[in-house]
């Protein structure tokens, strides 16, 4: 499989009046063609910052890419996204044409002042100026039908407030697909939806992913959703990738104490009821600086001094399962 995106040693800081937030520290991962990479993490783990930096939509300042690189199609085009100016034609072409994104809140990510149709077709008219108006319309209507919207022609002229959350999320997916991107980033696309609607959207994403030959980066805090949809999983905690690997490996044989604790702490519908083992304490303040492992204060398997003082190295096992913990030195 070919790599389509490579993120290497990426560190991003936010310089705020209250201090410096180390939002990402040495983040490494890659996305292969036609795969779904699931990114799991709690609030403050840096999962949204990661994808925003890929799309070049971080507000800089206060954010600043301190080090590292983000390369799109490293084998062929080798586009270094982190070096491109975030405003300008090159990056604008990457967004939508190569990488597009679905956001969490289907209500607030559409403009209430324009019809759904105008908003979906806008991207296409801007990125494919050669298309005539009728072509644009037919592409958009076709997509709306594909994402399961009944009577697309009527839908096209309506406004976002006239639709339910599920319908809006479908429209958002259609909008992300207009330019046939190679990577679709989905940032908690089902968190705001009900379970029955969530199941519909997950299935839709799965089917369009294979139909459009895309790769997908799926972000969520819900381990069950990530487990269902991903080929590979990236576990993030406080701006670091603590574990990554094939989905089955990460879930059946978790290596990092955080992943293990997370799996033990969530109520599962498909396993016998046992008492929950919560992770003690809470997520440290983002302003805190960690010289050692960021999970140290909550870890039940910590070794002592070394975990507090020394940054754990990344260890890669033969099956590609990576972990960053002193237990696996």
């Amino acid at each position: 499989m070919q790599r389509i995106l490579e993120v290497k040693d990426l560190s991003i800081n936010f310089y705020l009046r209250e201090g410096v937030v180390h939002a990402l520290t040495d983040v490494n991962f890659e996305v292969f063609e036609n795969e779904t990479l699931g990114v799991i993490g709690e609030s403050g783990s840096g999962k949204s910052v990661t994808v925003q930096s890929i799309l070049g939509i971080l507000s800089q300042p206060p954010a600043k890419i301190v080090s590292g690189s983000i390369r799109f199609e490293p084998e062929s085009r080798n586009l270094e996204l982190n070096l491109l100016p975030t405003y300008g034609d090159t990056y604008r072409n990457v967004r939508w044409n190569d990488i597009s994104m679905i956001f969490q809140e289907p209500m607030s990510s559409f403009s209430p002042l324009h019809s759904i149709g105008d908003q979906i077709s806008e991207a296409l008219t801007l990125h494919r100026p050669e298309l005539s108006e009728t072509d644009v319309l037919s592409v958009c209507l076709g997509l709306l039908e594909k994402v399961g919207i009944p009577s697309p022609a009527m839908f096209f002229k309506r406004y976002p407030h006239e639709f339910s959350g599920g319908m809006r999320q479908r429209a958002m997916i259609a909008m992300a697909l207009v330019c046939n991107p190679k990577i679709l980033i989905a940032d908690e696309p089902t968190t705001a939806l009900d379970v029955t609607i969530e199941a519909q959207i997950l299935e839709l994403l799965e089917s369009i992913k294979s139909e459009f030959n895309m790769s997908m980066i799926y972000i969520s805090h819900d381990l069950a959703v990530i487990g269902e949809i991903s080929d590979r999983i990236l576990v993030m905690y406080l701006g670091r990738v603590v574990e990554s690997g094939v989905a089955d490996e990460v879930i059946d044989n978790p290596l990092h104490p955080y992943t293990r604790a997370l799996l033990k702490s969530i109520p599962k519908i498909d396993q016998p009821i046992e008492s929950l083992d919560p992770i003690e304490g809470s997520i440290p303040s983002p302003f805190e600086v960690h010289t050692g492992c960021p999970f140290y204060s909550r870890c039940t398997e910590r070794l002592g001094e070394i975990c507090l003082r020394q940054k754990p190295a990344h260890k890669t096992y033969n099956n590609g399962h990576k972990v960053s913990c002193h237990l696996h030195a």
């Binding site: 069950a224 969530i266 109520p267 519908i269």
Partner: protein, 341 residues
């Protein structure tokens, strides 16, 4: 788990919200809760599950008198006092709210940012006119029960994390020693690693003080974990009701089946196309309907479903369902417990 004493009896509770569309047009009603009946036993945890808009939060808020009930009755009886919420006078209402408390979903907006933890937690006692010495003692007791320390008392909500704020919210509900606590999505806004702490805390408190919980949630995994009995709500009505084992392992209503099927499962990895996905969306609550409220979305419907009024009927061992076809159709549940020793 619980003794057979009913502490809260709800009969045909309705809460309609009026919807004025124009000055001369007829007033329409949103039937948020449309005839809900159940009883809550002492010391049990009753789970109410449903999707957004099904009326579960409206029900919870009606039960603590935050909404005026449109019709129906709520009877509270803890052995010492009996209160009927509908025709209660002011004093009775005050006693009622002392016994039935609520924990809200959002730990960020449900605490007043301008008053410190002590004042927040002590407020119910001040309202109920407790003497000053007792207030201080009680606050420090209850704050320890929820796992916070005395030094936290002088701080303001902004300096706490989500989990700690939820603990403050719980302390505020516990301080006047209620008998019934309504948890309205009490863990939904919390990070997954913190959720378990709060669930365990609620369970511990129940074991110690025999609270009765009404646990409202949209999360089937959480409900399954914490509840003894489950009521499944859909579009303002209870469509299925029974013990946790009954409802989850052998559901008797198509909606429950679909809901169980839709819950993401870790063990479900890459099992595509196996699900029975419920198509469509919940109905418009302002439209009056005779038959089943799930008619449009149901895979088992026949024409008679649309014409026959919805009614909960017992299919054995206090398992109630609103589906008229329940005897003719075979529904799949979780069947996890059976596999395990």
């Amino acid at each position: 788990m619980h003794d057979e004493k009913v502490i809260l009896q709800v009969n045909d509770l309705k809460k309609y919200f009026s919807l004025r569309t124009g000055f001369f047009s007829e007033t329409r009603y949103i039937r948020a809760v449309d005839g809900v009946s159940f009883e809550l036993y002492k010391g049990e945890t009753l789970g109410i599950i449903g999707e957004s808009g099904c009326g579960k939060s409206t029900l919870g808020r009606s039960l603590v008198n935050l909404y005026n009930i449109t019709s129906g009755s709520v009877l509270y009886n803890d052995g010492d006092q009996k209160i009927n919420l509908i025709n209660a006078n002011d004093r009775e209402k005050k006693n009622y709210t002392k016994s039935v408390q609520i924990i809200f979903q959002d730990p960020f907006s449900s605490l007043n940012p301008r008053i410190n933890v002590f004042e927040t937690v002590a407020e119910p006692l001040i309202i109920h006119r407790y003497p000053k010495e007792e207030i201080e003692q009680k606050v420090s007791e209850v704050i320890a029960q929820v796992g916070l320390r005395d030094e936290h008392l002088r701080r303001y909500p902004h300096s706490f994390s989500g989990g700690q704020r939820q603990r403050i919210g719980i302390a505020r509900s516990l301080i006047i020693s209620p008998k019934v606590i309504i948890c309205d999505e009490a863990v939904s806004a919390l990070d997954v690693s913190v959720q378990a702490q709060i669930i365990n805390l609620l369970k511990e408190l129940q074991a110690r003080y025999h609270y009765s919980y009404i646990f409202i949630s949209h999360d089937m995994s959480v409900i399954r974990h914490i509840c003894d009995r489950i009521a499944v709500m859909y579009a303002g009505r209870i469509v299925e009701f029974g013990t946790k084992e009954e409802v989850l392992n052998s559901p008797k209503h198509p909606y429950t089946e679909a809901l169980l099927d839709a819950v993401p499962k870790i063990s479900n990895r890459k099992s595509k196309g196996k699900r029975k996905i419920l198509s469509g969306e919940p109905p418009d609550l302002s439209r009056e309907r005779i038959g089943c409220n799930m008619f449009e979305r149901c895979g088992y419907r026949i024409d008679a479903c649309q014409a026959t009024p919805m009614k909960l009927s017992d299919v054995g061992s206090h398992h109630l369902t609103a589906c008229m076809r329940t005897k003719e159709i075979q529904l799949n549940g979780l069947s996890i417990e059976a596999k395990q020793p």
